[in-house]
Homo-oligomer: 555 residues x 2
């Protein structure tokens, strides 16, 4: 990007965008607003922005007292609690970097992340000490541990093998309530999250103060959240900054609810706090909303969530899930798109007023499945294999490239990842999709899963969905297999329902596909199998399938 | 401000905040959204963001073709039209500075502003040519004029003595529709407005791209405006960037309405467009809302503006005005505070949820008169004469100091104004006020009008309001007069109603005041006069009063 200098303005140009501005604003303008937290022992805790701000300042002094300096990286291994919220501002407010640790990683990966970041200290929930115990011996530089003990519990009573331990509550209680937040250069790191791809080591994304401030503005504008809303932090706060919603909700002075610990198989507590605290804004993945809906479906008295807005990300929200929430609770699911590398908000899906009248109910549900339109401040483009932009016609797929103030421009200390960024500052998302004439983005595939045949792309996901819509089919996977002439050609693996195996032929599948796909797109081979290889989290293991059949079209 | 460098982040740090990002976003995500304009011949014009964006790019090419370069200053003398909206993006989008010219200034002041800025070109509405004719001969550097002719009118048919004239429509029609907006360094000037104090020459405030981008975010968050709203640009677009609302409304994709030309004595057209186009968000001063309410009061059928939000600034909105709009139309008046130097949004007034239950209806109306709470991103403090912060108790007054990314840090090329800024980057607003324990700002006076007595401040405005609440009083002015012992002491000038002159004494006034003021605050002298000196715009001329009575307490 060539940047051109114009005529000098008179406005303040050295006032830095800092995340601490957000909490200072909240304490000043929304000081009486309530924050509700379910503690890890199940008890409820309530206080105000003003009180939270005082505890954040005490925490900052406490962290300083144990040696945390500007630029230090400090790990956080915690559930969605008010303490974690305090850490979100109090820790990076000192000028240190908050390294958010995904408690579902293996100890080996966690140790890699901690050492790669150079963290010397970790703040950990007492209930997560078993993870810390497994990880600490693998790390090279860890010098201190701050333990968030269970309510009322003394540090001396905590069972731990860790050394150099401090009590989070004692640090707060014993530190002074005055702390002047330093004016950090806005390009300084505020926090870090590591992405966990299916291959390779975790890669570090370090968010700047400027990045997070601007991202919070963007959410404030696009999610239309305000002082009269109650926001519940369902997204784990270690996933892409908790999707940046705690900071954005603080910026607008919303009432905050932290649900503490919850697991997918035990959603009673999460559902109860949403209802009891009249939550009307939240965010999460279908992975949480689907079981939550199932839980609600089983209730005699369905919760009334009329007017609630639930941002759903990470994967496409099924229409059945969106309709389920709407019909049973009155809550609207809003599809949003992003990634660890994008802080994460890139798009949100709203049905624009000029479309609302033109669409049938069914068309509206279909539209709501799309990722939505790009928020202000970001550049987005869809490119073919030659990095040329493809038309925004809702049909021509390409890789999604994203650029903007809160998009990562590199991975921390990982020169081998350079190819994931373009020379003009775009991040290659690895997602394949289309943008339609109204500006709606739809993700159709991952780049590595799309089939590149004769210079054209074929969506493996679309083809799988179409095959599964054939009544005799239970499950299907489509992958691209190397082909001497066409680069790749599709191969379909199909699991048929019981009793259909004798009856159905490969041509039946191809004929079914021919209704929606061009002839040249149809799979050269359709193999009927008993089961399809899966990953440990239950996704189709396309890497393994490709490996297994790699010579199929070379013979 | 000491700025501290922390650990380097990986997010994009050279992506500049540019105002053109806003219109590009709108054209991409809200391309079908409607823009409505009442042209200067009274006819209506409608098009979309997408079409407006194309015309802006043509305009940029057209301006380049007549020699407008990066960094040039170009004056704009225009009503609130869609053309002015196009100029708002198309002109500064080239990298030039949009110099907004207040068409109510004297030709001498306009010529001063134009020459002080170094502008070489002016864009002018045909209906405003008489002003251009008076101003142009007084200017040193003007080389070209772009005339926005009345609809359908050819440049050759325009009567003008100006030379080097171009037609705005021809420039657009004859220029290419492709223009790549340059990435301007975000601290570069986007536009300039000159303040017009009652004393001294106009002072130039040059807004940066960063400033305006962040300010638009702030309005997007605080005014809670969205794609489903229809925003009408009532504030003249030459007053402090039209209060930044056109840009903010574009950022969120609101429907836009430009009312063209209107005058205070003929509000039928303005009222009609608000009703016809279902406007639900707007902004203006009581100077326009008061006559608009009077006009509405005279209508048989009151317009239904239920749910509409009207931001009111420039002076305190009278309760009667706020109640009037609420009762007659259903529109809510929201008090907001700012100045040319602040882009302008500093505070907005919303009744916070935690206050709503505690207040009576009357208390709510009183609260709504306050300027409100400071928006996110700004620092504000109230200081005494020694620049020490006073307590936020809603009682202790001081001067309001403001700092932040969209607050001016100096006046352009005006070293003599240095004292209006503190060393740590605050702008001295010249306004006196208080902040209460909830964070609400209330402006009580101008610094130059407050009475400094024995180290304490007495509000002249509060005292005037209290005197006028005495039934026998028609009008009052209170000023501080130099006193040998107390520095200043209050003097009250009072105009009594007909028939009261024989009956009322100075002690009656003082006894009335003693109900709400401390004894030491009461005016030493209360003089009954036939009339009070006024300025040309009808305000109390306190400067003249102080001059006239300056020796009163020295005798």
């Amino acid at each position: 990007m060539d940047i051109i200098k114009g005529f000098p303005a008179t406005s303040q140009d050295n006032y830095q965008l800092n995340v601490t501005t957000i909490i200072q604003h909240a304490a000043r303008s929304f000081g009486q607003q309530e924050i509700v937290s379910r503690r890890l022992d199940g008890s409820m805790f309530k206080y105000t922005y003003s009180q939270a701000h005082e505890r954040m300042k005490r925490l900052a002094n406490g962290l300083r007292s144990i040696g945390v300096q500007v630029g230090d990286r400090v790990g956080v291994l915690a559930w969605n609690s008010h303490e974690n919220y305090e850490i979100y501002f109090g820790l990076p407010g000192t000028g240190a970097v908050m390294l958010l640790l995904n408690l579902r990683l293996t100890p080996q990966d966690l140790a890699y992340v901690i050492d790669h970041s150079g963290a010397t200290c970790i703040i950990v929930d007492e209930t997560l000490l078993p993870i810390a115990h497994a990880v600490a011996p693998l790390c090279k530089n860890l010098k201190a541990f701050v333990i968030i003990t269970l309510p009322g519990k003394k540090l001396a009573d905590v069972e731990t093998s860790l050394e150099n331990i401090y009590s989070y509550e004692d640090l707060i209680a014993e530190s002074a309530p005055d702390f002047e937040w330093p004016h950090m250069d806005e390009t300084s790191a505020y926090a870090a999250c590591y992405t966990t791809g299916t291959t390779g080591k975790p890669k570090g994304v370090y968010y700047s103060h400027r990045d997070v401030y601007l991202h919070s503005c963007s959410i404030g504008i696009n999610a239309e959240i305000s002082t009269t809303d109650t926001y519940c932090q369902i997204v784990p706060m270690f996933h892409a900054l908790g999707w940046g919603l705690s900071q954005a909700a603080t910026m607008v002075g919303a009432r905050l609810v932290f649900p503490g610990m919850y697991t997918l198989d035990k959603l009673e507590g999460l559902c109860k706090i949403i209802v009891d605290e009249k939550v009307n804004v939240s965010a999460g993945a279908p992975a949480i909303f689907m079981p939550l809906l199932e839980y609600i479906r089983g209730l005699d008295k369905k919760p009334d969530l009329a007017g609630a807005r639930l941002l759903s990300g990470a994967s496409e929200p099924p229409v059945a899930m969106m309709k389920g929430f709407w019909d049973l609770t009155g809550a609207e699911i809003i599809h949003a798109y992003g990634a660890t590398e994008t802080t994460p908000l890139v798009t949100t899906n709203r049905i624009m007023p000029w479309l609302a009248d033109k669409l049938t109910e069914d068309q509206k549900w279909e539209l709501k499945k799309k990722q939505g339109f790009t928020v202000v401040g970001l550049d987005i483009k869809v490119v073919n294999a030659l990095d040329e932009e493809v038309p925004c016609d809702g049909k021509t797929p390409g890789e999604i490239l994203i650029r903007g103030p809160w998009i990562t421009a590199r991975y921390h200390n990982a020169p081998e990842t350079e190819a994931q960024f373009t020379k003009d500052g775009y991040w290659r998302s690895g997602d394949v999709g289309t943008i339609d004439e109204y500006g709606y983005l739809k993700i159709t595939d991952r780049v590595k899963d799309v089939i590149k045949s004769g210079g054209e792309w074929i969506s493996s996901v679309d083809m799988e969905n179409e095959i599964v819509s054939f009544p005799a089919v239970l499950e299907a996977a489509v992958v691209g297999i190397t082909h001497p002439k066409w680069e790749e050609r599709p191969l379909a693996l199909v699991v048929l329902r019981e009793g259909e195996k004798e009856r159905i032929t490969a041509d039946d599948i191809r004929n079914h596909l021919a209704k929606t796909f061009a002839r040249w797109q149809l799979p050269d081979e359709v193999l009927f199998v008993d089961q399809i290889p899966k990953t440990s989290v239950g996704k189709l293991n396309k890497k393994e399938i490709r490996e297994q059949y790699k010579e199929m079209y070379l013979k």
